[in-house]
Structure formats: C-alpha cells, structure tokens
Symmetry: C2
Subunit: 300 residues, 2 copies
C-alpha cells in the first residue's frame, strides 16, 4: 500500500462548489476573507468563484468583485481559477484577467442537459469557441458524472472514452473526473484512473470526489494509488447537500490534509492555518459542517 507519490496537488473548490450550494448570500467581504485565509494556509490553486448567470445561482452574483479583488492582490505562487459554464462566463472571466478556467461538461448527456442545458455537441462547440476567442486562456475540463449519473445511472467506459476522445481532439490538457453524486467505489476509481491515464498521455487528470456516501477519502486513496495526484476538495466539506448532517457533498480539504500528512505526503499546506479558516467558515457560514476534522471529538 506504500504510495509511490510524495506530493499531492490540492485544488480548493470551497469558494465555488461550496458557496454556490448555500442559499443565503455570503457577504463578499466574508468570501474574500476566507479565500485569502486559504491562500495564506498554502493553497496554490483554487476555484475562487463561478461566472454563472446570477439568476441561476444568486450566490455567485459577486463573481467579478471577487475576481478583481483577488487579482489585485497579485499573489505569488497562487493560481486563481474561475468556473465558467458557457461562452458568456468565459468572456467575463477572461476580460477581468483570469488565466485559467474550469469548463463543465457532464459525461452523461442527460446530466449535461439538466446542468448546463446543452447537448454534448453544443457544449463541445462552445468549448472550441472559447479556445478560439480567448487564446492563452488555460481551460481545464470538469468531466461531471464520470462515475455515475442521477438520471442515466451507470456511465459506461465507452461513453467515458468517447467523451475523452473529443476532449483530447480539442487539445485540452487537464481533465478532472468528477463523482458528482458520490456513487463511486474505490475499485472503480482505480480502474478508470488507470484506464484514462494509459490512453491519454497528453492529458493531466485529477479527481473531484463527493463524499455523499462517506467514500471521499477511500476513493481518493484509490485514485492516489492509481497515480492521480491532483485532488479537488472543499473547505469544511461544504457543497452538495448541506442540509443533511453527515451526508456531505464534497470531501473536506482538512480531512484529506489529515490523511495525507499522516501518511507523510506533502501538500504544502499548513494544517493549523487551514483550521483557522475552517473556524471562519463555522462562524460566518455554517456552524455545523460535514467535515470530520471540523467537528472532531476531543479524545476522552
């Protein structure tokens, strides 16, 4: 079980995937305080916001303000990422000076329709348009429903490969396989991780594994064993379904940090400083988090 890898690249998605699932508007200054705290703790890559239509997700209405404030700080060794669901979002992000965006296309077309209201063909065409219009913009693709779909059920290997063939043809260099509804199991994660890494040598793959069924860390472990080293996680385990205690959406960054640091794997993140941000989240956003490290019992 000894892992060959010595370092994991953590991508923080709390301020995007976490915040967007919270109904009550979080003041922009609180969001910024948290984002800045995460950077201070050592986060090197973070989805700081989403350029989505505010009518769809009101929480993200301050995407431009957040982006401007973070870019103005000119952090070194920190790469802000914005999620963009479409061309309009990509344009806004690009014009503000964002250098890297996450573009979402579900592997299951049924989910893509529900989430983005586009067919695969439309989504890929729009991706091409973004590439053509905004040269120099790094586009990573979130491959949602890679391990199962709430509408279509199982996602076949054929469907995954067909999807990735198209992504590869478009010259995309980074793809994140997302377990959008937390249905993956460790064997499946390891198998698919191996399959795609062997077939697409030009693509760097990462994992975004929801913890809905408590498998976030076990699935991450399986992914690490299969050679994946980029993992997306959210502060406090925010995201997904915040109203069911214990049944979180995202795997909590601090739970992953605790596992990795215990295994002597480097993350470049300071656990104490990170936990200070978790406290901020508890104070300002959600007092009860699904994160284990946030709600840990003191040993008797």
């Amino acid at each position: 079980m000894k892992l060959a890898l010595k370092k994991v690249d953590i991508v923080e998605v709390g301020p995007r995937d976490g915040f967007q699932n919270i109904k009550k508007f979080i003041p922009t200054e609180v969001k910024l305080q948290i984002i800045e705290g995460l950077i201070a703790a050592g986060i090197k890559k973070m989805e700081i916001t989403s350029f989505v239509n505010p009518k769809a997700i009101a929480q993200m209405a301050d995407a431009s303000d957040i982006t401007e404030a973070i870019l103005a700080s000119k952090y070194r060794n920190f790469q802000p990422i914005a999620l963009v669901p479409n061309f309009v979002g990509a344009k806004k992000a690009y014009q503000l000076g964002i250098k890297e965006v996450t573009y979402v296309i579900s592997i299951s077309e049924a989910h893509n329709q529900a989430n983005i209201r586009r067919t695969h063909e439309q989504s890929f065409a729009e991706l091409k348009q973004i590439q053509d219009e905004f040269p120099g913009l790094t586009i990573r693709v979130d491959a949602a429903t890679a391990f199962g779909c709430p509408f279509a059920g199982e996602v076949s290997d054929e469907l995954i490969l067909q999807y990735l063939d198209t992504v590869a043809d478009l010259g995309v260099k980074e793809v994140i396989l997302c377990d959008t509804i937390g249905v993956a199991n460790p064997e499946q994660v390891a198998r698919i991780a191996r399959m795609v890494q062997e077939r697409y040598r030009g693509i760097a793959f990462g994992l975004h594994l929801h913890d809905t069924r408590g498998l976030g860390l076990a699935n991450t472990l399986a992914g690490l064993q299969a050679g994946m080293t980029t993992i997306e996680v959210a502060v406090g385990g925010l995201g997904g379904c915040p109203f069911a205690p214990g049944a979180s959406g995202n795997t909590a960054t601090e739970d992953l940090l605790n596992m990795l640091h215990g295994m002597k794997i480097e993350t470049g993140i300071d656990m104490d400083k990170y936990m200070q941000v978790v406290e901020l989240v508890k104070q300002h956003i959600q007092p009860i988090l699904s994160s284990h490290m946030a709600t840990i019992c003191k040993p008797e």
Copy 2:
C-alpha cells in the same frame, strides 16, 4: 488496487460499542428488536452486549436479559459475542451459555489503566484465569489503542509486538486491532496489518477502526488490501462520540456494506434489510446518525 479477496467477514458491534455510548437507557425490547433485525439482515457475528459493571455503564445493565433472549432463539449460522472487561464479566457470560467473548486489553498501558483499571500484568493474568476456569470458551482479544493512545500518543511497533508476543504465548487465536480514537492513517494500517500477519501465523487478525477523522473506510480499504478480512463496524455509526455530528466513533456498517457491495465483495448481508434496521435505530435511539448511508441526500 484490485483486491484479491472476494469476501469480508463483518462483525457487528453496534449493540455493544454503539449502545454503551448512549446515555439514555434503551429499553431491552428495543435492543432485542434491533439485534434480531441485524441477524435477519445476514449478520453472522455480533457483539450483543457487554458484561460490565452496571455502575460503570448503566446502559449494559440488561446484559443477562439480552443474552438469554438471543440464546433462547437458537439462531443457526449466528455467533453471539459478549464483551467482558474482566473475570467477573466472563463468568457471567459463560454461565449464561455464551461461547465466545471479547476481552479488552489496551496496547497502551496508560489507556488500559484508564479503561479497565488494570496494569498489563494484571490484565494478562486475568485472561489466563478466564482461560483456565472456562474451558471451551473462545476468547478474542480487542487490542485497544493499536494505532495511537489519547494519553501516551504514538504506540510503537515494539510495544505492539511485545503485547502480541504475550497474547500469542497465551494461545489466543483471534486479535482485533482497534483504532480506539480514530487516529490511524491508511499507510499505518497497511504496514501494521502486514507486520502482525507475517509474524503471528497462528492468530487471525481483524480491524476495528473508528471514523473520528473520517478515515474509517479509507483505513478499512488499506486493511483489506493488506489481507485483513474481519472488520468490526456498528449500525448507524453509533458509538464513540454521538454528540458531534459528522464526528462519529465507529465506522457505520451500512457505509462499509455500500463500499464492499460496490466493489463486488460478498458480505452475505442484505442491504435493504440492513437499512430497515438503520431506520429502527433512527426511530428509537438517535434521529441523526453519523452514518452517510443513513443520512444520504437523494440525488437531485
């Protein structure tokens, strides 16, 4: 990551480790309804109660009633186990007809003193006395604090081996390595699992991994990869610290079942029937459980 094993032996400890951590007395008939439901779902081995001094743990005051009722049902293919902290408890269990007991000795002597109020020497002497007085009684040993101690901190390999040498000399055939405070990490579990299995060929080892830091399933996965096939878990994730949502004590049996069945590993347990028992636990004992499967969000 493909696991060699095809079958995992699940030992249910909810009615002992789970119930004993609940302050309010659970009526005996509710306990029995749950235990019977667990057996009906396919549980083959279960700690049904603990013969501990009721002054120490009032919840276990009905240990004799529970034992008599379960033994009277003469289940086939089901092995009831009682936890016994000392000779007096073992005697009671034996006299009622119990054939298998779990005897607890912490690897950390500081924890053994706090938990059982005995030195190692006293605990091992009492184990010998139980073996001598109750021939035919199968004694499995719970090696508490195998991965860390709340008082002594790290538990060294030397201490583990010294402890197991004594246990092996006493002829014990089954030892459960317990992560009593949930501090283990997957690499540690795999390493120690391999070490003890190689050294003590005559002992069957199992794992009891608390989920305090969210590592229950990841640590279990590491243990399975290292060849461990006996896993102790608790219905609903009961146990440990039920008052901090998300920060459970035990790994939830249903969360483990979901992982194993997803990986096509047999458990002999019917998930639907098992979840009916989880509902009973929610109704009669604790409405909010740390188990993920018990509190799962419906996919959107």
